[in-house]
């Protein structure tokens, strides 16, 4: 089962690379994403309330948390691959890309999905590291796919900063392994998450403290948490829109998933206080940086990128609280933010395509000039700012509640202040982009292939915000994996 799940995007990657890009290649990618999503749902029904699934000689393992992440990957991949067809069509039509180059894009996107799946399905924390590092390598070419001077700069910065960050995470992993080897009776699988959890109370606290700090700093680089976030606005604004959607919507949270796995072990070895303090510090730092830099943004893709830094900060603060309520809210936020941010990046890609600029100043009055596109962008922003009925409202509220319950009320209040500043900044930018007089031109409609998936995404985001079904049991089971 687990190996099949990995084989789907891998075989699609091979197939897509065989011939120059055609629309059929695009639909193959969509089918692969759908396969991943269905696989995730099947996996989730299989592991909730039962034993974790394991596969490929114990290298792969899936519990409720992994299954939930597979679903998140599948949902956003579905949106991104659907939009990818539109992106490549336009690139080829405008002569910016050849069909060969487009086939490379399709292959890399499928490879990107496969590496993310491996990261959330790995039983061994070292293999998880290998997978997360591999996501960097695959996405570097995707960031630079448009082959401009700025995208080259962004991809260079991306791979250099992320390689260094992830190297720190490797050192952290080695130290965890060292601590595990010094516990009597360890097996050959000392880096397996289950065996680490089984002996977590015996791990040397001094080494674990250093290790967890390196893990948070290292994987935090890939999450886009301050102080190692500086690559994020560049990479996310320069990448093609479907890639930005995948990177901002899921890749960040796949890296955060790694931190969650280590947090369980660190909590066991060190008690809750040290991991909590560390996460609160990086979280508040990220929130403050996001708030101060969002105010002066002139580029709407960069605005969205900094918004991701904010949301990662919120997720880190929720994880710092660490109760079952908090983790369930964190996971719901991971899904809700993924959908809303994915939809917004895809919409911004369409805006860039039809308007030809990514500067906020030069795309006014979208609601009257392009009602459908403007409407999706408006609702996306509303979702991202945490208004009901979208699920981000519920998850933010529950994270705040959980933070007050465990005595992190002061941090919650600080996060609210940052959120208020960001709210103001995004509203100002959004108002400029959305409202205003149309002028003389007639309103332009948006193709259904573009609009329908995006509207579907927003409806889904609202649905999981108001209905406990179908996620309730899965979220509960997944939260219990982290909060023990």
């Amino acid at each position: 089962m687990l190996i099949t799940l990995l084989a789907v995007p891998l075989s699609c990657a091979l197939l897509s690379g065989l011939a120059p890009w055609r629309r059929a290649t695009g639909w193959l990618g969509v089918a692969s994403s759908l396969g991943v999503l269905i696989g995730g749902v099947v996996l989730a029904t299989g592991v909730v309330g039962r034993h974790a699934a394991s596969g490929f000689h114990g290298v792969l393992r899936a519990d409720a948390l992994s299954a939930f992440m597979v679903i998140v990957i599948g949902v956003i991949a579905l949106l991104a691959t659907l939009q990818g067809i539109r992106y490549l069509d336009a690139e080829i039509a405008q002569g910016r890309s050849t069909r060969r180059h487009a086939a490379l894009y399709a292959t890399l996107v499928q490879g990107f999905l496969a590496t993310m799946l491996l990261a959330v399905l790995a039983a061994n924390l070292g293999v998880m590291w290998v997978a997360v590092e591999a996501t960097t390598i695959v996405t570097t070419f995707l960031v630079g796919h448009r082959n401009t001077r700025t995208s080259l700069e962004a991809s260079w910065k991306y791979i250099v900063i992320c390689s260094v960050g992830i190297a720190l995470a490797f050192l952290g992993t080695v130290l965890v392994y060292l601590a595990a080897l010094h516990v009597p009776g360890h097996g050959a699988h000392a880096l397996d998450w289950t065996s680490l959890v089984a002996q977590m109370h015996h791990l040397n606290p001094g080494v674990m403290r250093l290790a967890f700090a390196l893990i948070v700093l290292g994987y935090g680089t890939k999450v886009g948490l301050a102080p190692m976030h500086s690559w994020l606005p560049d990479a996310h604004s320069q990448a093609p829109a479907p890639v930005s959607a995948l990177m901002s919507g899921v890749l960040l949270t796949v890296a955060f998933y790694a931190i969650l796995r280590f947090k369980v072990i660190a909590d066991g070895a060190l008690g809750a206080a040290f991991p909590r303090t560390l996460l609160v510090v990086v979280s508040l730092l990220s929130l403050v940086i996001a708030a101060s830099l969002l105010l002066s943004q002139r580029d709407y893709k960069r605005m969205l990128a900094y918004h991701s830094v904010e949301h990662m900060g919120l997720i880190a603060l929720g994880a710092a609280a660490g109760s079952t309520l908090a983790i369930a809210a964190v996971l719901l936020h991971i899904l809700g933010h993924g959908i809303a941010k994915g939809v917004l990046f895809l919409t911004s890609g369409e805006i860039l395509l039809v308007e030809g600029t990514s500067e906020i100043e030069h795309v006014p009055a979208l609601l009257s000039r392009r009602p459908v596109l403007g409407g999706i962008f408006a609702f996306g922003l509303v979702a991202l700012l945490g208004f009901p009925p979208f699920s981000l409202f519920v998850s933010e509220l529950n994270m705040l509640r959980a933070e007050f319950q465990v005595g992190l009320g002061w941090a919650a209040v600080l996060s609210l202040v940052c959120m208020a500043v960001i709210f103001g900044a995004v509203m100002t930018h959004g108002r400029h982009m959305l409202l205003g007089p149309r002028g003389t031109a007639a309103p332009v409609m948006t193709p259904a292939l573009v609009a329908v998936p995006l509207i579907g995404g927003l409806v889904g985001c609202a649905f999981i915000g108001v209905s406990a079904w179908p996620l309730q049991t899965l979220l509960h089971a997944a939260a219990h994996v982290v909060a023990r």
Binding site: V127, E133, W156, V160, V164, F170, V174, V207, L210
Partner: protein, 219 residues
């Protein structure tokens, strides 16, 4: 192998790794720096091989051969290819001058010994005592990354960080499990290939490998 030979071999290997890291700050010619990097890769392989022989661990010996091939031969060749077509990047232009860099390296080595106390306390063996050397090599790599503005120098910085961590892994845990080791080595190799491709594109587009020319993205 007697235990004293073993200890001195390991000490020699670890010292060479650290010394090579410092030498990359000292030498200005990129050709020389790449040679130093290759020597560092060989020393790293030597450390892995000594531990493998001492522990009677055949896997680690295989890993040592892989490290030798990857870090001693393939990676230096790849970097040489980047500079071959770009005469301007045969000299590094550090933001911090060489004497100051060396002083900073000294400070970083002290920092490494202080920071790895909790780790050496857990592994007070001949190998465990050498862990700070790896940490120091890693910190020197960070320093090189932060103060060099040429594409090639940044690749070298990343590799220094990586080699330092690899040394820590060999000394602390006699290497990570084989599957992780293979995956990690493959990742590093691929990352260098990606960096090489990017550097080639940079040269074609900008005519040089000077990162200061790439500064359009800012807030």
């Amino acid at each position: 192998m007697t235990s004293s030979t073993y200890a001195s071999l390991l000490g020699l290997g670890a010292a060479v790794v650290l010394l090579c890291a410092v030498m990359t700050l000292w030498r200005r010619s990129v050709g020389a720096i790449v040679k130093v990097l290759a020597v560092q890769g060989v020393a790293l392989a030597g450390v892995a091989l000594s531990i493998g022989i001492d522990h009677h661990d055949a896997t680690l010996a295989v890993v040592a051969v892989l490290v030798l091939a990857a870090k001693g031969v393939v990676v230096p060749t790849l970097i040489t290819r980047v500079v071959r077509h770009d005469p301007a990047s045969r000299e590094t232009q550090p933001l911090v001058n060489v004497p100051a860099s060396l002083v900073a390296a000294g400070a970083l080595i002290f920092l490494a010994f202080a920071a790895s106390r909790s780790v050496t306390a857990l592994a007070p063996t001949a190998t465990g005592r050498l862990i700070p050397y790896g940490v120091a090599a890693m910190l020197v790599g960070f320093f090189a990354l932060a103060t060099r503005r040429k594409a090639v120098s940044q690749i070298v910085g990343i590799l220094l960080v990586d080699n330092g961590i690899a040394l820590v892994a060999f000394l602390a845990t006699a290497g990570v499990p084989l599957i992780v080791e293979l995956g990690a080595s493959l990742d590093v190799l691929l990352a260098v290939v990606v960096l090489q491709v990017l550097a080639t594109q940079m040269r074609l587009r900008l005519g040089s490998l000077d990162l200061d020319q790439l500064s359009e993205l800012r807030d």
